[in-house]
Amino acid sequence: MKAKHQRLILVIAALLAIIGAGLIAAWTLRNQANYFYLPEQMAAEPPSEGQAVRLGGMVRPGSIKTEADGVTVNFMVTGNTDDAIPVRYSGILPDLFVEGSGVVAEGSLGPNGVFIATNLLAKHDENYVPKELEGMGTEQAAKMAADTTVGLTQ
């Protein structure tokens, strides 16, 4: 190996690895990034079953039903239109999760059109609004964001 060559080979190897990382990142991001949906968007163009997404909107008043096991809840999430998505969640509800409050549900669509949430982000403290609910544009969303919802980390 000539004097100049080793450095060149090192640079090329490093560049290849970094470019490889970039390509892998781009490819995986396309498949694994978690898209945010409003209820009307989910109704119009549902994501494929099992794909991890986020659903954000308002918990429809009167729709929260707790199942007999005491830990599974079903409720409807509405947005700016009449479309409502049924959501099912097993777990400890965020402290200020109530009817009429804003919520962001992480999870995926199940086979029967029910959104299976693995995590709920709801009001958590007074100063934060989940990014997804910012600037939704309608009065309802603004109201929702202003006085009810706030996100956890993530």
């Binding site: 190897a13 690895a17 970094i18 990142a25 990034a33 945010f36 400890i92 402290d95 992480e106 403290d125």
Partner: protein, 662 residues
């Protein structure tokens, strides 16, 4: 008066940073005689005095928080007279301007230490280093003084302060951010040194030996800070997870990845005079990542617990600084890198070769994390809202982490410069045997997901490989720094084992339980005995009494709480933990159902604590490495001194010796 003195100290410190920058810059311009420029002598004293002033400003703010001086806006906005003293103090850096003041305080302090004690480098290089350090500091002083003055007064002091985000009222906050900041700042010193060496063409082993303690120190602090932060998120957020790939967590992981690579490449430079340009590049990269971390956390660009600041002007300011520093650094690097002559060469199968491979793998992981962290910010500009989580980060980083771990097992066994793989037949087959049998054993034990399974196998192999470098050596004669390496590598194995076990064997039970009811999770019978209201200094809570008994043994009482703070109003879930040598039981309490049952959620996480024990071992390994290097250095200096003294004595004796009489 406190606020006014603090502010004056900050302005003076900023002026001194300017002096340090200009005076240090003159060091680059040699006089005609080749002696050091007379204008360059002010840089060192400026750095030392600046350190005193910046630390003084921080202490004054600390004092204002301690006595809850509500006429200072920052105190009124973030503190409360009823808060426990420890959280009054930690609240000093639990907000944006306060944490930035801590940042510059640590920055100035390390600049002062460098200027005051580092005498090994040529004056010219030192001048350039201090100039860069002054330039970095100046930007942050400007940021503090112009856009987030921590000492701003209120015309009318309120009667009571607003309080501190309850999630942050925790001992975790007391240690987590300051350690991370100190780590970031240590990297800035490494960066200044790298720039100084690059500008004065001094990229050589002597420079690497000066840079090494700073890099190691920063790396130890980052390791410790990340470990503490992970444990804090684990028990404080009540979700049972220990790493969420939250952008703020990534912001601390990225500088750590770059610093890990840098620690290894600077070692190669110091020992072998190879990887010169690469080390400088990593120095620039590590600092850029710590700047990016500061930007992500401080600018409010993320919605997250950590991003207290929601002020676009501030964000723009930090972004400007970020662009200036990173852009400037890479420009200087691009212009000067060609002038750095190539260091010593080595073959592919050598310790250097293994280190280079792992450096590249670490950089690739860094790229994965960086892209995943920035992607949501970029798409948001185009009005597409996404979030990126474990389904992306775990597999994408594993692609590079797995080969890295394999090479890491063998690398320390190789010789410098050139080695024959055949020499390591025994070691390699031992490591492979351990890897394969651990994989086989784990897959027999149950249906384990792919990544945790690989993690178990790699952890076992790495644990064995970590101690192999000690084989055949007299343990009492092994240098302290080598013990440091062994310990740190063993820590990686321990941590990996914890992560894999958590992923593979965690058991969870979520149920609504009436008082007196029992649920089973793993070997544990969990009985909800009672639920009662309790109150603390600034919160009220519902507290459950849960009796946990393992295989019918003596029950242990756990008391998870659902807390409501009133200033500011916020609810948090306080988990209760039962730690055993082989894992942790994690319990949280939820809401009460209409029929009077309470929701409880209990996890049994086997060996989860090993994640943080491993992190601590890694940090401890770094501490040993620093201690070993410093001891060798002190020994060498005193040996040189003694040798000089003896030579002087001998000369004196010779001179005084009477001429023998004829």
């Amino acid at each position: 008066m406190i606020a006014e003195i603090g502010l004056a100290a900050l302005w003076l410190a900023a002026a001194l940073a300017l002096l340090q920058m200009v005076s240090g810059g003159f060091a680059l311009k040699a006089t005609e005689t080749g002696a050091i420029n007379p204008l360059a002598i002010y840089a060192r004293p400026a750095a030392v005095v600046q350190a005193f002033l910046a630390v003084l400003a921080f202490i004054l703010l600390l004092w204002a928080f301690a006595i809850t001086d509500l006429s200072i806006k920052l105190v009124a906005d973030n503190s409360h007279s009823m808060k426990p003293m420890i959280y009054k103090l930690t609240g000093t850096w639990g907000n944006h301007p306060g944490s930035m003041l801590l940042w510059v305080g640590v920055l100035a302090l390390s600049g002062g230490l460098l200027a005051g004690f580092e005498k090994r480098l040529p004056e010219k290089t030192m001048g350039a280093t201090l100039a860069v350090q002054g330039f970095v500091a100046l930007g942050f002083y400007a940021f503090l003084l112009l856009s987030s003055n921590p000492f701003e007064r209120l015309p009318v002091p309120p009667l009571e302060g607003v309080g501190l985000n309850p999630l942050l009222q925790d001992i975790g906050l007391a240690i987590h951010p300051p350690t991370l900041y100190a780590g970031y700042v240590g990297l800035s010193v490494a960066f200044s040194l790298a720039m100084g060496a690059l500008l004065t063409n001094q990229v050589n082993p002597a420079f690497a030996r000066v840079m090494r303690p700073w890099v190691l120190g920063a790396w130890v602090l980052l390791t410790f800070g990340i470990t503490a932060g992970s444990y804090w998120a684990y028990y404080e957020l009540g979700w049972g997870g220990w790493w969420f790939w939250d952008p703020v967590e990534n912001a601390s992981l990225m500088p750590w990845l770059a610093a890990t690579a840098l620690v290894h490449s600077v070692a190669v430079l110091a020992a072998r005079d190879a990887l010169r340009t690469w080390t400088i590049m990593l120095g620039v990269l590590a600092f850029s990542m710590s700047m990016l971390g500061t930007f992500l956390v401080r600018s409010g660009v993320l919605t997250s617990v950590h991003a207290f600041a929601v002020d676009p002007a501030r964000g723009a300011f930090i972004l400007g600084l970020l662009g200036l520093y990173i852009g400037g650094a890479f420009t200087i690097f691009a212009l000067r890198a060609g002038a750095v002559s190539e260091g010593k060469r080595f073959s592919v199968s050598s310790r250097e070769g293994a280190l280079v491979f792992n450096n590249v793998m670490l950089s690739a992981i860094l790229a994965i994390v960086l892209l995943g962290t920035l992607y949501p910010l970029v798409t948001e500009v185009f009005d597409v809202r996404v979030s990126v989580g474990p389904p992306y980060f775990n597999p994408a980083s594993a692609i590079f982490a797995i080969p890295m771990f394999l090479v890491m097992a063998v690398g320390p066994l190789l010789r410098w410069k050139e080695d024959k793989p055949a020499r390591l037949q025994f070691e390699v087959s031992l490591i492979a045997a351990v890897l394969i049998s651990a994989l086989a054993l784990a897959s027999v034990m149950g249906d384990i997901p792919f990544l945790p399974l690989l993690g178990l196998g790699l952890a076992a192999a790495l644990a064995v490989a970590a101690v192999l470098p000690l084989r055949g050596r007299k343990l009492t004669r092994v240098p302290t720094a080598t013990w440091g390496m062994v310990l740190a590598h063993f820590g990686v194995a321990v941590s990996l084992f914890g992560m894999a076990c958590e992923g593979a064997f965690t058991q969870e039970r979520l149920a609504a339980v009436a008082p007196g009811g029992t649920e089973q999770v793993g070997d544990f019978a969990v009985t909800l005995q009672s639920v009662s209201p309790v109150a603390g200094p600034n919160w009220t809570a519902i507290e459950a009494r849960i009796a946990v008994s393992r295989n019918g043994g003596e029950p242990v009482i756990l008391s998870p709480q659902a807390r409501n703070f009133w200033s500011p109003a916020q609810a948090t879930s306080e988990s209760a933990l039962m730690t055993r040598w082989d894992g942790q039981l994690y319990a949280v309490i939820g809401n009460q159902a209409e029929d009077g049952r309470w929701q409880i959620r209990v996890w049994w996480k086997p060996f989860v604590t090993f994640i943080w024990y491993g992190g601590l071992l890694i940090a401890l390994g770094g501490v040993l490495a620093i201690a070993g290097r410093v001891r060798v250095d002190v020994k060498r200096r005193s040996a040189v001194r003694q040798g000089d003294a003896r030579r002087a004595d001998l000369e004196a004796l010779d001179a005084a010796a009477p001429m023998p009489a004829e």
